[in-house]
């Protein structure tokens, strides 16, 4: 008895279990899904999804409780509010994206069990990445996230576009990870063998090795900018978004961007404070080019998913302004609030696209014509989400952008904010184009109506009514969050304020 007591107290002092309890719950959920799938031999697959949702919800609850009480665990994880908020965001992303993917996976008749498996592992990778404080954990969790996203993007094996997307994603993420690793190895070498971020800062003699530290910063920038799809490293985004199955695109358009944002902010804030002038200029340049490029090319797109890919490139450009504008009394509040709102807007739009492509099987923007007559609920919610993405006043996208640009202006980034305002107006054009197309009558009502009816009867005979509501639940959740977050902006800002480190 004494032995067990001393063992438990030593256990609690070496690693504080309650700190990584959300991740442990996710891992237990993962193993449960694998074992359940093996035992059930492929039947009753919806149960697996329920396990996933339950474990994610429990994780979220525990994380929420931890957000209130801050516990420190200095070796591998640091539990300040910044990291916890990002873990919370990633859990929200996983939860909502699985809600909206159940229908799609059932309908496309691909193997059902591995999908929540990959989603949990990608979510786990993202969560650990948000908290990691040493280079090896950062790299391993980044690879975890990237590989799981690769497998997810190639999930529909028989579709050739999915194979192409997965191949491109794998190759390019491998190249960027190797560049990141090279930057890390330079840091490791200069800091005399230290791997923890804090010890690296202590030991590097910045004055002596400054040119090579700049090279290291450049490589790390290349590696992380790939995941964020900033300007010269954005080439994978449209192809991968267009080819992968839609719920998968929803998932990794938010999760990997959120995780990469936390990585980017932490690395550049902690390791390179002496270089802050240099990397501020470079990041500003990247952000401006991403915004311009993303918005201008999105105007010409004909496929909805590709257009959303370019628009997400430009959204990350806006968020970069938030990273550059961080200062002492406000922390990273603008970036965190905009990320929070962006998650809901993006997932909401993808939920509606998933529902639409389930019903009609098409991705072209032109096929959205006249949707108002066929399904007013879908149209109305899609209108809300698109307007929120564009930044129209009563919706939360407007408040997010307002706060972001105001912060940027106060921090002195005049050029970036001006470019951001101009490109924001351009982005309203292509969102409104889709809305106009949906709300007005279609030119040839016969063809589209026929395909719609046929697909609808096929789909409703396959899926039960209980499942059909999960996508709609995700839709409603995202629509509400997109509109009402703007009104509840103040508490959100208050929470995200003390995140400067």
């Amino acid at each position: 008895m004494n032995d067990i007591n001393s063992f438990l107290s030593r256990l609690n002092s070496t690693i504080n279990f309650s700190t990584i309890l959300p991740e442990i719950i996710l891992i237990v959920g993962l193993i449960t899904i694998v074992i359940t799938d093996l035992v059930n031999k492929g039947k009753n697959a919806i149960f697996l999804y329920k396990i996933f949702l339950v474990s994610t919800l429990v994780s979220m609850g525990i994380l929420f409780y931890q957000l209130i009480s801050v516990i420190a665990f200095e070796d591998l994880y640091t539990n300040n509010i910044f990291n916890n908020l990002f873990r919370f965001f990633i859990l929200i992303c996983s939860f909502i994206s699985v809600l909206l993917s159940v229908d799609y996976v059932l309908c496309s008749k691909i193997s059902l069990a591995e999908f929540p498996l990959f989603k949990i592992s990608a979510g786990l990778g993202g969560m650990i990445l948000s908290c990691a404080t040493d280079l090896i954990t950062i790299y391993v969790s980044l690879e975890f996230l990237a590989l799981s996203s690769c497998f997810l993007s190639g999930y529909t094996k028989r579709d050739i576009r999915s194979n192409e997307a997965s191949m491109k994603f794998l190759l390019m993420s491998g190249a960027s990870s190797s560049s990141l690793l090279y930057g890390f190895s330079l840091l490791y070498g200069f800091s005399d063998g230290q791997v923890q971020l804090d010890n690296i800062i202590d030991k590097i003699l910045f004055s002596q090795y400054l040119p090579t530290i700049c090279i290291s910063a450049a490589f790390i920038l290349a590696g992380t900018a790939f995941k964020l799809s900033l300007f010269p490293f954005h080439q994978w985004t449209p192809d991968v978004y267009e080819g992968s199955p839609t719920p998968v695109v929803a998932f990794f358009s938010v999760t990997s961007k959120v995780a990469a944002l936390s990585l980017f902010t932490r690395l550049f804030r902690l390791i390179f404070p002496y270089l802050s002038n240099e990397w501020h200029i470079v990041v500003e340049l990247l952000a401006i080019s991403s915004m311009i490029l993303g918005n201008l090319i999105a105007v010409t797109q004909r496929s909805f998913k590709r257009m959303l890919a370019y628009s997400s490139i430009s959204q990350i450009g806006y968020v970069m302004i938030g990273i550059l504008a961080a200062d002492l009394e406000n922390g990273y509040a603008s970036m965190l609030t905009y990320t929070f709102i962006y998650i809901f807007m993006n997932l909401g739009t993808f939920a509606r696209i998933t529902l639409f492509s389930l019903r009609t099987g098409t991705d072209n923007i032109r096929d959205y014509a006249g949707l108002y007559m066929k399904d007013p609920v879908l149209t109305f919610s899609l209108v809300l989400c698109l307007l929120s993405l564009g930044g129209i006043p009563p919706l939360s996208g407007f408040f997010g952008k307002l706060y972001l640009f105001w912060h940027g202006w106060k921090a002195g980034l005049y050029i970036s904010v001006t470019v951001a305002l101009v490109t924001s107006v351009i982005s309203i054009y292509y969102y409104l184009k889709i809305i106009k197309l949906m709300l007005t009558k279609t030119t040839n009502p016969v063809d589209t109506l026929k395909t719609y009816e046929k697909q609808k009867s096929l789909v409703s005979s396959v899926i039960s009514t209980k499942l059909k509501s999960s996508v709609e639940m995700a839709m409603i959740l995202c629509a509400l969050a997109s509109t009402l977050s703007g009104l509840f902006m103040d508490p959100i800002i208050k929470i995200t304020r003390n995140t400067f480190f």
Binding site: F7, R10, L11, T14, I27, I31, V34, I35, D37, L38
Partner: protein, 120 residues
């Protein structure tokens, strides 16, 4: 003698090790006459007549087995340092390694049940 003084022996070793295979090939080229006939130029297939295409389809079972082997091999590599430092690490490390092995066993059972280990 060479660029970095303390690595002299290394450079000499490198030169000699590059030189020896070259020597082997050139001696045999000078000593032996080249008599190429149609039988000598045929593909080697352990003494039997080669037939069929040279390009055959890769069988996926080799890849599956190699993959499962690699995972188990890396697991073994992780177990070696633990085994050496077992005395000093105590009960907590033991339980941790049990958890590690259990997770990998779950993966192995999964691969087994999904048919990755079928040799046909």
């Amino acid at each position: 003698m060479f660029l970095f003084q303390q690595y002299d022996s290394f450079w000499i070793f490198l030169l000699v090790s590059l030189f020896i295979p070259f020597l082997a090939f050139s001696i045999s080229r000078f000593l032996v006459s080249n008599k190429d006939g149609p039988e000598k130029l045929a593909n080697y297939e352990s003494g039997i007549e080669p037939k069929g295409n040279t390009w055959v389809q890769f069988q996926i079972r080799y890849y599956m087995f190699a993959l499962v082997f690699t995972v188990s091999d890396v697991e073994t590599v992780f177990l070696y340092p633990w085994a050496i430092a077992f005395e000093k690490l105590g009960l907590f490390a033991f339980i941790e390694v049990i958890v590690f092995i259990l997770i990998l066993i779950v993966g192995l059972v999964y691969a087994w049940r999904k048919g990755a280990l079928e040799w046909s």
